[in-house]
Point group: C2
Chain length 439, copies 2
């Protein structure tokens, strides 16, 4: 673990010049008010219910937007309009008029605004876990058909549990072998780690682009290249990057990708996932769950399953139209703000959080368990302290809401469009206060 502090611990209420606390060049000051005043995205906070400070339910600092993003302020109204309009008024006709294409239409818009991908390669459907299962199975099975020796799935021990569990299950049912990468826990998987794991037996590599714990950004372009040189396919889990870190799936040559939409895409609790399959690969792959909506003619009531051509074959059941509405609205807000501006603010937020943690929390033994270089850090940082489980409970009591990740990680997730620097500062000061009370 790397210490969050790059200077001598000092009194937590003392004033310090940026230089004195080792501020990186990107962060102009540790003055939250000044940072908020200079924030070109500050006006977007009003687009979210309760964002930016104390809200009606006593939330002082919401630092968990990477687990569940806030709802858009006008979402209730939009959902009511959806209920009365397309659903209540057009009724079943809305399927013909619009909904049948919605998984791909919304996928295309998400691809354009967030994923750096051209049209016809992205669908919105299923839960993240189900979509990972389908795409990893599709890739593994296709590889096995081409070359029976390719029976290995590469994944890292630091990957999110659902990714690891799914691969365990797939390996068990398909007789595949798992090759585990053991990455540095405070950073993440490097191209060298992947290269060392690749072999002529590699079928598929499943990695997270931004590590859920450390926030480390993997070098997706270099790793994708390495995987391709080994004749394998890569599946990127974008859960912690989509909507906060610019993505260039097409330029990186990514094969497949999956992401969740309830974090930085503010889709709401349990909102559907998205899946991306590179155009050139689609007709080679067949996912295992042959539902009617992935068939060439869903309403033909045909005898046998013929997969749709293109990205639609990765759909299974009836698309979750109601559940897509918050995501559809949020993608337009992101388009308005721009991913580059979102990333710029995200870097300032994590820099501010890391610097403030160095100043206020390092004296209590808190360590930064995330990269110190913002270039390889997503939109959250994790701090470690042996008492963070109880600290998190006490913080929730006082309306400061980070996330706890066992064994002793406190994760601070920073949604660039809905989080203010003042809120972040209040949150870190509260962590300090709780640590001081426990000390």
């Amino acid at each position: 673990m790397t210490s969050a502090s790059t200077s001598t611990p000092r009194a937590h209420d003392g004033a310090a010049s940026p230089a004195a606390v080792g501020l990186p060049p990107a962060l102009p000051s540790l003055d939250a008010a000044a940072l908020d005043a200079a924030d070109p995205l500050a006006r977007f906070r009003d687009r979210f219910l309760g964002a930016g400070g104390p809200d009606g339910d006593g939330v002082i600092a919401y630092l968990d937007g990477n687990s569940l993003g806030r709802p858009l302020a006008d979402l209730g109204e939009r959902l009511a309009e959806f209920t009365a309009g397309p659903w209540g008024n057009r009724l079943i006709r809305a399927w013909d008029e619009r909904w049948m294409d919605e998984p791909v239409r919304l996928g295309d818009r998400l691809a354009e605004v967030v994923l750096g991908a051209g049209p016809g390669q992205t669908v919105v459907a299923d839960s993240t876990s189900v979509m990972i299962y389908k795409l990893v199975r599709a890739a593994l099975d296709a590889q096995g058909r081409s070359d029976a020796r390719r029976d290995e799935i590469v994944i890292d021990r630091g990957n999110f549990p659902t990714d690891r569990f799914l691969v365990e299950g797939i390996a068990a049912e398909r007789g595949a072998t798992i090759r585990w990468i053991e990455p540095d826990p405070t950073t993440g998987v490097t191209p060298a780690d992947v290269e060392a794991a690749l072999s002529p037996r590699t079928a598929v590599v499943l990695l997270s682009h931004v590590a859920y714990r450390s926030g480390f950004i993997a070098d997706a372009a270099a790793i994708t290249d390495a995987v391709h040189r080994a004749g394998a396919l890569v599946v990127w889990d974008l859960c912690h990057s989509a909507g906060s870190v610019p993505l260039e799936l097409d330029a990186w040559g990514v094969d497949l990708a999956v992401g969740c939409t309830y974090k930085y895409l503010n889709g709401g609790p349990g909102s559907p996932a998205f899946g991306y399959v590179r155009a050139g690969l689609q007709d080679r792959l067949l996912q295992p769950i042959w539902g009617w909506m992935g068939a060439a003619d869903p309403f033909g009531m045909t005898e046998s399953y013929t997969p749709a051509s293109g990205i639609r074959r990765f759909i299974t059941g009836t698309p979750p139209i109601l559940a897509m509405q918050p995501l559809a609205a949020m993608v337009e807000v992101i388009a308005e703000a721009g991913m580059d501006a979102i990333r710029a603010k995200s870097v300032l937020l994590t820099e501010f959080a890391a610097a403030l943690a160095g100043r206020l929390l390092a004296p209590y033994g808190v360590e930064l368990a995330s990269p110190s270089d913002p270039a390889v850090r997503g939109s959250h940082i994790t701090l470690n302290h042996p008492r963070f489980r109880e600290v998190t409970a006490a913080l929730w009591e006082r309306g400061v809401i980070p996330d706890f990740r066992p064994p002793h990680g406190l994760r601070i997730g920073l949604s660039p469009l809905s989080t203010s620097f003042a809120e972040l500062q209040a949150g870190i000061e509260a962590i300090r206060d709780v640590l001081a009370e426990l000390a």
Copy 2:
């Protein structure tokens, strides 16, 4: 095909006594106004947006509630409250406070009100197709572990395409054999049909309780018994029965069941499915998609997947909480109305539809492709006529909305809580008018 008419065709505008058109005893008259006046559930129509007659968008008769049920009238408000409250205000804390248990809590309530099942056996999750995949795989794999000779899946050619397609895919990947039942298309699968297909090789039987085309109600109790006597497991697809036909899953000894919630459960377009697994069977079965939410300790971030005990192991990804809200509201409306009263009205509606079709449509060559005995008929009827594809398009133009099912079936779905007899009569008269224009 059975003719809808049990009497001589007569002028479609002529008055006829019930006896003259062969009214079954359950139907007191062919007077829609009188039937509506005597309807003890009439007051429930106001609970639905636009129900019971012409609405703001010119819908004169909505006869497709078995494809997409109407939204509850107060649903927009409820969704806005959900957005502002649990999601917007409680934020991530709502997972701890309520949402983690929601798939089982709502499943239990659905089980109690609609499924005739005790608690701890039902979850709300996934699309219907994904849930069918998981439960059929779980059953097939468990059977194969006990007895390698059990490698057959029994299903009927009349089953809904997604069921057949899923079984095709499962058979392909697991090396299983499909044994096809060929039922009478105007009724459906009988116990004798099933018994003829069963053998010591049978692993799983997947059938629809109410046939999506004819509306025939299979004898679930007798078939379940027959399947058990053969040492196999049965999976019932309840898509067309849940919410319209009383179910007794526990009493019938059903092993597994799946249903969709956007038909008679008014969950909205693409709302999540429910899955039922008999308590005594749960720990023997392991579904193949090992997501974190089905693990024994989802937040333990453990090394390996250990399935949760009980029904939770059939969950995969993050539960679709927002998408469950319409269903949660509708289940309470059903509880208030009572399944027996709903079924009684459903029988009157389909009797009225069949009798009116006999009177008004049979003269044009329309035939009933559903059982004439209401005891074995769900809440829809299908009528056949060679020109129904173009008739359906013309009907939609004039605000009468049935469903078309190739090659020439017009399906009239009757949601007991939101459909009036007057609306149904207007719809059937419109079918007559279009046929008259085409003639």
